[in-house]
């Protein structure tokens, strides 16, 4: 009885600790976005002494200045117009990440099938090369990739970022899906061969339909890799028309001239859709990936 209680308390304490580090920042952002800076920094005032205000959200979505900055003599340098890019950058991020994930799947799924099921010369070497390529530090690749995208005339476009994000996701997608293809029973492919299927038909009609949940889960993983990527997004995007949310958030968070309220409101707007998406699909991601690992 005592042991069960101690176990439960331990679990509760562990869960609370995790919640503190995951939910804590979200709660802090929400609070900071609703409370004016003057209250936030005044140790003599309670957080809710002046009530909550939605000024910062109003500014981000409509451009109307927070009330305290409309007063005569207010220094408006702390109001960063970059915050107004947040909603549009979210849309950019979704477009870029979705396209990058789709492109990565289109290119990597057949490759994963080949590595898992077909013997060809140089298979081991190219597979190792592909799988180990993410070990190269991103910073080392910035200049050559920048120059390649520049030469392609895609600098400052979403397409350039999509290409790079897709290429970055391919090793992971190949690795995860090839594990799944390897676990499929060999009899399945032998039967397809006996029925006269070509290699491509076997892939499209037999392997792919069976692997679809894993492919979709891996696609979500690629989506998230792209959504969170910063370095290439920063150097390859040119203006707000192509700039994803990771870059806009960096612009706000790393600029000390942005008011805390505005920064917190932007953080909250940026993370809430992500949190909802992750909460909705994470179960499928994990299930899909586990299926690849334990099937057969």
């Amino acid at each position: 009885m005592l042991r069960t209680l101690a176990g439960r308390l331990g679990t509760f304490a562990g869960a609370m600790l995790i919640l503190l580090f995951t939910g804590g920042p979200v709660l802090m952002s929400l609070t900071g976005s609703l409370v004016p800076d003057r209250v936030l920094f005044d140790e003599n005032k309670g957080l809710l002494d002046e009530g909550i205000r939605f000024d910062n959200y109003r500014y981000i979505f409509t451009g109307e200045l927070p009330d305290s900055y409309q007063q005569a003599g207010a220094n408006r340098a702390m109001i960063s117009q970059t915050a107004r890019q947040v909603p549009f950058a979210l849309v950019n991020s979704v477009q870029i990440s979705f396209s990058a994930a789709l492109l990565a799947l289109l290119l990597a799924t057949p490759a994963a099938y080949m590595y898992a099921r077909v013997a060809f010369r140089g298979k081991k070497l190219t597979f190792m090369f592909l799988i180990l390529s993410p070990l190269v530090p991103t910073v080392a690749l910035v200049t050559p990739i920048y120059m390649t995208i520049e030469a392609m005339g895609l600098l400052g476009s979403k397409l350039g970022i999509i290409f790079v994000h897709a290429v970055k996701a391919i090793p992971f997608v190949v690795l995860i899906i090839s594990v799944f293809f390897r676990k499929l029973p060999v009899e399945l492919f032998e039967a397809a061969q006996l029925d006269g299927c070509t290699r491509m038909q076997t892939f499209l009609r037999i392997a792919l339909p069976v692997a679809l949940p894993s492919v979709a889960a891996t696609g979500l993983f690629a989506f998230m890799l792209s959504y969170a990527e910063f370095m290439f997004s920063m150097v390859l995007s040119g203006d707000s028309g192509s700039r994803p949310i990771s870059v806009v958030m960096a612009a706000l968070a790393r600029n000390t001239d942005v008011s805390w309220g505005l920064l917190n409101a932007s953080i909250f707007i940026a993370i809430v859709p992500t949190l909802i998406l992750v909460a909705m699909v994470w179960r499928f991601v994990v299930e899909g990936m586990l299926r690849g690992a334990i099937k057969g």
């Binding site: 960063s80 203006d239 001239d257």
Partner: protein, 426 residues
């Protein structure tokens, strides 16, 4: 006139009209690269420029401030078309030496430049000059200021200090009266501001860290920098200083009423005096930097034209028109930044501009600031200053809090500077 002749004249007239109807410049699309501060305002300024200059369009690209220099270097090295950029006094020697930027003398009419130079504050002109050539016109310029809480000093009957000894005496009096730490100081060895503030204090004593040949001379105990570091170490040792890691933390700290003095860039005063946001807004004022010279350090960010653009006559002409619109007479764009955003400026006539005065007098005494700006000096910017400063700042930080002696710190800093100077000279 015969019909055939009429037709010829008609054709010639049409051709002539078509030729003369061409704009002075063929269509040019300038690539303007900035760090992302107030992009909407920049875009609006660009629209106004385009309306006044048919045939020239401007495409704006912006990067985050911390990544700006690296991103821009990537563009320079990658050959990405880049025409006009935001430059900075600290980057200029390296960028100009590498051949990335062009002197304005190469693309602008000499008489226009001369007229503009006369209006620019001395420190700003120096910040934008490399090897005797002018590389930009000011976008934004500011000085480090000595700020104090008027109300506290009035209540305690303390006159505004005019020397560092008076600052020490006033702080000791305030401490004796119960104010635990009268001075708030931006203490962060990672920040270039940390070194800038120290240089400003040295200038206020009428000294310099370097001689005319740019040799380090601050290891001499008679040097103003040496004396000021000793002063800071004494102030820390007496428990008079509240260190804060960033200027953004100094704003709320001063607004607690628990501190009376600070040394920061002038724009911090604007934030400290923002009514509605700051509890003690209106209580803070700027005093001339204490010391015999009452000088300070200024910095300048500026519009610069790339060497690649300067080499193309058509683009160079368009780029100069753009730079002149953004920073030249009648200083409308600089006035807008100053009045709407509180940004400092290098164009001295703006101190007489009614709109600027109306906007600024709400948070600063404009004549005092004008005097401060007029007497401000530029930093010593060389190809190695940024690297050396990163080495020296941690030493400076240790000496202030008594973890290293002033003599050892200054000796090590001076030796490193002179060694780097010799190395770069080779």
């Amino acid at each position: 006139m015969k019909p055939r002749m009429k037709a010829w004249f008609g054709a010639l007239a049409i051709a002539g009209t078509a030729l003369t109807a061409q704009p002075a410049l063929a269509d040019v699309k300038l690539e303007f690269v900035v760090w992302n501060y107030s992009i909407d305002t920049i875009q609006d300024n660009i629209k106004k420029f385009e309306a006044e200059n048919p045939g020239i369009t401007v495409n704006l690209t912006d990067y985050t401030w911390p990544d700006y220099q690296d991103s821009l270097l990537l563009r320079f090295r990658g050959g990405t078309q880049t025409d006009v950029v935001y430059g900075g006094q600290d980057w200029l020697p390296a960028w100009a030496a590498a051949g990335y930027l062009a002197p304005l003398e190469d693309i602008a009419p000499a008489e226009t430049l001369d007229a503009l130079k006369k209006d620019i504050a001395g420190f700003a002109l120096s910040d934008m000059t490399y090897k005797g050539k002018l590389y930009g016109l000011p976008y934004y310029a500011d000085t480090i200021s000595f700020l104090y809480n008027k109300k506290i000093l009035e209540e305690k009957g303390i006159p505004v200090p005019t020397t560092w000894d008076e600052v020490m005496a006033a702080s000791e009096k305030l401490k004796a009266d119960g104010m635990e730490r009268p001075i708030v100081y931006e203490y962060n060895q990672e920040l270039p501001n940390f070194f800038d503030a120290f240089v400003a204090q040295t200038y206020s004593r009428g000294g310099d860290l370097f001689d005319a040949d740019k040799k380090a001379i601050f290891d001499n105990p008679e040097n103003a920098a040496y004396q000021q570091l000793q002063w800071l170490a004494d102030a820390f040792a007496k428990g008079l200083v509240q260190p804060e890691t960033h200027e953004s933390k100094i704003i709320p700290a001063m607004n607690t009423g628990k501190h009376a003095f600070t040394i920061v860039y002038n724009y911090v005063l604007a934030a400290m005096n923002t009514p509605g946001e700051q509890a003690l807004a209106g209580q803070f004022a700027l005093a001339p930097m204490p010391g015999s010279a009452q000088s300070t350090l200024g910095f300048t960010k500026f519009y610069a034209v790339t060497a690649k653009t300067a080499a193309d006559a058509e683009r160079a002409e368009a780029a100069w028109k753009f730079v002149n619109f953004m920073a030249g007479k009648p200083y409308k764009v600089a006035e807008r930044w100053a009045a709407e955003k509180g940004l400092g400026f290098g164009q001295m006539p703006l101190f007489q501009n009614k709109d600027v005065i109306d906007a600024w007098q709400k948070w600063v005494d404009v004549p005092t600031l004008e005097k401060q700006v007029a007497s401000a000096r530029a930093g010593t910017w060389t190809e190695w200053t940024v690297i050396w400063s990163a080495y020296f700042r941690p030493l400076l930080a240790k000496a202030m809090v008594g973890e290293a002696s002033v003599a050892e710190t200054m000796k090590a800093g001076a030796e490193r500077w002179n060694m780097m100077q010799a190395r770069f000279a080779k």
